[in-house]
């Protein structure tokens, strides 16, 4: 397809990527609630059913267990299903299928069975979604052996990572932040780019402090970095892109460069992905550290519909800038 001059939103790139992968490989199918006729509640699958028919783009009943489970069985028989959960908050009923089945299948069959499924779900708050349309749950999958967890921050990465996830022979949990679906456009000229899972991206260079983050956090970090630059503090931003397994080498390089680290994500702070990265640094990069390893995450709370309480729980650029300055001054 020809790239619109203005570039594309993340939703458009995800939609184009699904269409291209389905055209390229007849084994790729999409299933989920309202993914067909409606094209998904966020339009990520818009137009696919008209093009590929009601079986390859299957409107399922409200049955998360069998959405995940049928995707697994179909994958074992050679398909490459992309299973959509309408919201990350509604993946929980399928938890058993994803962690006890998809994650264990290859290992427990000593390599005989493959489960090339992408479990897709819109995640994240700040959109007035309330308790059940706001969750960031990547940690619940990052702890599970056999799963990879991806959270893109830009339209280009969303396309390149989804392409990699679909072609990967193992299950991938793929979270898309609702707040990024239509947040700005990006020129994505290479529609065949496959971004390897597990590789971080240096989003911004700066020698004073490293902010290691992913997803929406990248955008909070950019804003904070701008503010700090005004005060002469240079911030490096590392976008992990894949939360599990995360890019240890890239993290190590960044810590070696700055010696001061802020870990940032929207997921709840306690036992969130940042805890793992902080522990890794405290264990293996201890001597490189010039300051405490700071973490910013959501305030260990469910997310409400009302704006003031939600804002009080979610991380914001102001708090990130403050932490960067604290580290710089340490």
């Amino acid at each position: 397809m020809t790239e619109p001059a203005a570039g594309r939103t993340m939703v458009q790139v995800l939609n184009d990527t699904l269409r291209a992968e389905m055209a390229r490989d007849p084994a790729v199918v999409v299933l989920g609630q309202d993914v067909g006729l409606k094209g998904g509640v966020f339009k990520v699958t818009a137009g696919l059913q008209a093009e590929f028919g009601p079986m390859r783009v299957l409107d399922t009943p409200i049955s998360e267990i069998v959405i995940a489970g049928a995707a697994i069985g179909a994958a074992m028989m050679g398909l490459r299903p992309v299973a959509e959960f309408q919201f990350a908050d509604y993946m929980h009923p399928a938890y058993d299928q994803i962690v006890n089945q998809a994650a264990t299948m290859r290992w427990r069959s000593v390599g005989a069975w493959s489960v090339p499924v992408v479990f897709r779900a819109p995640c994240g708050g700040g959109v007035r979604g309330g308790v059940y349309h706001s969750q960031s749950i990547e940690a619940l999958y990052g702890h599970i052996p056999g799963l990879r967890v991806v959270v893109p921050a830009t339209p280009r990465d969303a396309g390149g990572l989804l392409r990699a996830a679909i072609r990967d022979d193992d299950p991938v949990v793929f979270f898309e932040h609702k707040g990024l679906y239509r947040r700005g456009r990006e020129l994505v000229t290479d529609d065949s780019e496959v971004i390897p899972l597990g590789l971080a991206r240096l989003d911004r260079q700066g020698g004073d402090v490293s902010v290691i983050t992913y997803g929406l956090g990248v955008h909070l970090a950019r804003e904070a970095a701008e503010r700090c630059a005004a005060g002469g503090v240079e911030t490096e931003i590392l976008d992990l892109r894949t939360v599990s397994p995360f890019d240890r080498e890239a993290v190590a390089r960044s810590v070696a460069r700055t010696g001061k680290v802020l870990l940032l994500h929207e997921a709840n702070r306690t036992m969130g992905p940042a805890a793992e990265i902080a522990a890794f640094i405290a264990e293996e990069l201890f001597t490189e550290l010039d300051a405490p390893v700071l973490r910013i995450g959501a305030g260990d709370c469910h997310l409400p519909y009302n704006a003031p309480e939600e804002a009080a729980i979610l991380p914001d650029a102001g708090g990130v800038a403050e932490a960067i300055r604290r580290l710089a001054a340490y």
Partner: protein, 349 residues
């Protein structure tokens, strides 16, 4: 199996059901308006399902039986005594909202005093709760019944199967009420289940399954009343299917483009309110003048509630983590307008 017809409805009750239906519709109308004006962030109502909701709720013993509605059940809430003012507070995410303090989306009711469980957006997650409430009644030896409302799409969830099965194995006092509007967001019934009627599911649990026109207040009341008494009498759960139209889009964030003009027109044509009004007028229980006044006064009442609610403050940010665990000071609820003194929905007077 099928439940024998229940006792005929008392005519004054029929009129009360209509009054609450008019109130539900007025509130529904006002909430959509608020959302279009951008003063409410989101709206999701049950236009077309009011009579099914109110007439079924009217069959329970209020404050004694427990109610487990879902997000579309404004009619159930108002019938049980929730005030429009409270629903306004919730839709506008005000701190005083006694149901969730503005933490949940519109219409996510919760009221221990009215024995209404806390509504979760998660489809079918509340059916097991209703079964647990019925189990508690059995353990404690009281004769309360748990009524549980849900949509046709909710019937596809594993939770629904497990809940109905456990209730049926122990003949627990539960009434499962499916408001079948034929669609789940964009997914039509034929893609949701292979059976003609949700009530066909009852056979799998050896419980009575009845399907009635959910726009027929008398039929809804009769079958619900029968199922409630049956449950109270220790004869176990029932599954009721109330066939209703979905007149609006799924919510204010849905374009309804997946339905044809004919389908949308057919839904609108099945509106239960005119039908009940006709019945009442025919039977001389309501004159058209009385109806005009009722509709006008009800709209004024709702607008008055809206003005009050709009004047109330949003939750303070520092409150965000309160009530994660026991021990925090109580929320305190909302101060209701004087007009709601003694208000008790369909059970009023």
């Amino acid at each position: 199996m099928s439940v024998p017809d229940g006792p005929p409805i008392r005519e004054d009750l029929l009129l009360r059901i209509y009054r609450v239906a008019v109130l539900t519709r007025a509130l529904d109308h006002q909430l959509w308006l608020l959302t279009r004006q951008g003063r409410a962030g989101f709206v999701l109502t049950g236009r077309g399902q009011e009579i099914a909701q109110i007439a079924s709720a009217a069959a329970m013993r209020r404050g004694h039986d427990s109610a487990w509605p879902y997000y579309r059940d404004m009619g159930v809430g108002l019938a049980l005594g929730v005030t429009p003012y409270e629903i306004m507070l919730g839709a506008l995410a005000r701190a005083a909202d006694p149901h969730s303090g503005g933490r949940q989306l519109t219409m996510h009711l919760s009221s221990p005093s009215l024995r209404i469980g806390s509504i979760s957006s998660a489809i079918a997650a509340h059916l097991p709760h209703a079964v647990g409430a019925a189990y508690a009644a059995r353990v404690r030896g009281d004769d309360s019944v748990a009524l549980c409302w849900f949509g046709d799409g909710a019937a596809s969830e594993g939770a629904t199967h497990e809940a109905m099965n456990l209730a049926a194995v122990h003949r627990l006092p539960v009434v499962f009420i499916c408001e079948n509007n034929g669609i789940a967001i964009s997914v039509p019934l034929a893609l949701q289940m292979p059976v003609e009627r949700v009530s066909d599911r009852a056979a799998a649990y050896a419980m009575p399954g009845v399907s009635v026109d959910g726009t027929d207040a008398e039929a809804v009341y009769a079958v619900t009343r029968t199922a409630v008494e049956r449950a109270r009498g220790g004869e176990g759960p029932s599954l009721l299917e109330l066939r209703v139209p979905r007149i609006t889009p799924h919510s204010s964030q849905d374009d309804d483009a997946y339905r044809s003009d004919e389908q949308r027109a057919a839904a609108a044509a099945a509106d239960p309110l005119p039908r009940l009004r006709e019945t009442l007028v025919e039977r001389g229980l309501l004159s058209l003048d009385e109806d005009d006044r009722l509709v006008r006064e009800t709209r004024e009442q709702v607008v008055a509630d809206e003005d009050l609610a709009l004047a109330m403050p949003a939750p303070p940010p520092e409150r965000a983590r309160r009530w994660l665990h026991a021990g925090d000071p109580p929320h305190g609820g909302a101060v209701l307008p004087a007009r709601y003194a003694g208000w008790a929905g369909v059970f009023g007077d």
